[in-house]
């Protein structure tokens, strides 16, 4: 066992000497390899962090949301429908929600106007999200005016700015009183944007949804599970596409590695011939070259991963921000929370190290079988 380990150490020693003798080439390989790991790792870490964060934030989202559909479009829900729904067995609580979008030409941003069910602001007052406060420079006590549906001006005094911590859920919210809401949009009493229901037994959500669909065939029902599942997979789609795009890079890298491993110069071939002539065996050369690949891919993996960790969780993933931020004027200052597990690391390892090893194994073997007697010919 001791001999085995010392032999490995000796071969590693030789490998390193030989790597150092071709510094430039090997360094280039290491840099490219690390960059690829970095890109893949950043994408994986970032989207996974978003996914988990969404799952935690939305775990208490409404169990059931019911929308009324007219001509395939979302329409206002009348009070009468609510009364009907209340009779569905299993549903313990149901009420209409009032919300909508409001474009603010001054900030050139879209706000989400909402009427809270509990503790709504006084008439004429508004509770605003941190994003609105930032975009308009509005503090508690300041006044904000908007054009209502009929062209009249409605003025709200800021009662409170929602704390920064919950920005990811509340950044663009503009919470108002029900009367103010109806005046702003001209929606008659007895009409709601949609409805939210609670179900007694969580196992019966599906059943209740079926009953609602039967009772009100013109409605669209969104389950909390569906929302969670949507967010679980919302990033999968393009994450996968990104990966497919990066596959090109991985492939190019694999070709580069293959090229480097197979394009042995006459000098390197002679060296391997010498090693074999002085007493190394094909297996020793293979082992030595495997050490080379192992050191290379392990260092590239560690470097790439650690840089990606810094990039995503310390710098806020500036490389991906433009995609997520898009053209939005208001954007929650969002620093992803790290959720990392062995699963992602294993995925990353397979996606990066496997192509490298696969690309180099045949060239390495070709080098290793060089005849030892060629140095004497």
């Amino acid at each position: 066992m001791k001999i085995y380990l010392r032999r490995q150490l000796n071969l590693l020693e030789f490998t390193l000497s030989s790597l150092l003798r071709r510094k430039g080439k090997n360094l280039a390989l290491l840099v490219v390899f690390s960059a690829i790991v970095f890109m893949l790792a950043s994408a994986l870490l970032y989207s996974h962090a978003l996914r988990r964060e969404a799952a935690i934030l939305l775990k208490d989202a409404p169990e059931l949301v019911i929308q009324k559909m007219v001509g395939g479009r979302h329409d206002l829900l009348p009070q009468a429908n609510l009364a009907k729904l209340a009779e569905v067995r299993g549903i313990t609580q149901i009420h209409g929600r009032l919300w909508g979008y409001l474009f603010d030409p001054i900030a050139a941003a879209n706000y989400t106007v909402m009427v809270p069910q509990t503790n709504p602001p006084e008439p004429g007052f508004a509770i605003i999200g941190e994003g609105i406060s930032g975009a308009r420079g509005a503090e508690p006590g300041d006044q904000l005016s908007f054009k209502s549906h009929d062209g009249g001006l409605l003025t709200f005094r800021v009662a409170q700015v929602i704390a920064y911590e919950s920005a990811l859920a509340t950044s663009d919210l503009f919470l108002v009183n029900e009367d103010d809401y109806r005046r702003l949009y001209g929606i008659a009493p007895g009409l709601f944007t949609d409805a939210v229901a609670k179900v007694r037994n969580p196992r019966e959500v599906g059943k209740a949804a079926e009953k609602i669909a039967e009772l009100l065939p013109d409605s669209r029902i969104v389950l909390r599970d569906e929302i969670l599942r949507t967010y679980e997979s919302v990033f999968d789609w393009r994450e996968g596409l990104l990966l497919v795009l990066l596959t090109g890079a991985v492939l190019a890298f694999a070709i580069f590695a293959w090229e480097k491993a197979s394009g042995l110069s006459a000098e390197e071939r002679r060296e391997i011939g010498i090693l074999k002539a002085v007493g190394w065996e094909t297996g020793d050369i293979l082992l030595m070259k495997m050490w080379e690949g192992g050191v290379m891919s392990l260092s590239a993996f560690l470097i790439g991963y650690l840089l990606a960790y810094l990039h995503v969780f310390y710098l806020g993933a500036p490389l991906f921000e433009p995609v997520l931020k898009g053209w939005a004027t208001m954007y929650p200052a969002f620093r992803p929370t790290p959720f990392i597990d062995g699963f992602q690391v294993a995925t990353l390892l397979i996606l990066t190290v496997l192509p490298y090893l696969a690309a180099t194994v045949v060239p390495i073997w070709r080098a290793a079988i060089i005849d030892p007697d060629q140095v004497m010919r």
Partner: protein
């Protein structure tokens, strides 16, 4: 005792440029002696040394080393016997460039799994034995021809082999260095080593240290004495 029977070796077998370098060699070589293979170039002397030294397997025929048939061993086992039995000194020395003399000497022992420190000490002893201790940390490409050869000899000795095989050892050396080489050979013979070498060099043929000469011609043995 090294014994060869009916040894043949073909290169590029089955191809248009097929070439038989050895055409049936029967030979017995005694140990603890110096044997020189002589003959025109292309006569198969070097190929014969690679067969004896286990660098390549004969296409047919048998090579026996101390009563053991080594000609049909797989590479793994052949190499294991080879590196404990033979040390090689090549015509062009074949040191690895970019590595120090010391590292070059240590290389054959790496796969044996010796502790690095012990190995280093041993390599330094070998260099010292050949008067090269001062150059231990010099890179191989900075050594002169004679120095390079002595490093190559130190490398051949690191695994303490019984047999030293040298291919045209004096071809790249001038007169004085060739003399020194012969002195080293005499010293090794005195230590009980078996020496096998090929040569064109008349200085070697006439040297007192040589016990036997094998003359070769067209892949066959012409005469031996």
């Amino acid at each position: 005792m090294i014994e060869l029977s009916e040894v043949r070796k073909a290169y590029n077998q089955g191809k248009p440029n097929e070439f038989w370098a050895l055409r049936g060699i029967d030979l017995r070589l005694s140990l603890k002696a110096v044997t020189v293979f002589m003959g025109p170039s292309g006569s198969g002397k070097t190929t014969l040394l690679t067969m004896i030294g286990g660098l390549a397997r004969p296409t047919s025929g048998r090579v026996r080393l101390m009563e053991r048939d080594i000609s049909s061993l797989p590479e793994k086992f052949l190499t294991d016997i080879r590196r404990r039995t033979f040390g090689f000194v090549f015509q062009s020395f074949n040191l690895l460039k970019g590595m120090t003399a010391l590292e070059n000497v240590m290389i054959p022992a790496y796969p044996l799994g010796l502790p690095h420190e012990a190995l280093r000490k041993r390599a330094l002893e070998m260099l010292d034995l050949l008067g090269m201790a001062a150059k231990a940390e010099s890179k191989a490409e900075w050594l002169s021809g004679g120095e390079a050869q002595r490093v190559a000899i130190a490398r051949a000795l690191i695994n303490d082999p019984d047999v030293i095989i040298a291919d045209e050892p004096t071809a790249n050396l001038d007169g004085q260095l060739a003399e020194q080489f012969l002195e080293i050979m005499a010293e090794l013979k005195a230590r009980g080593k078996t020496l096998l070498m090929t040569s064109h060099d008349p200085r070697i043929r006439k040297a007192a240290v040589v016990d036997g000469i094998v003359w070769m011609q067209d892949g066959q043995i012409a005469s031996s004495d």
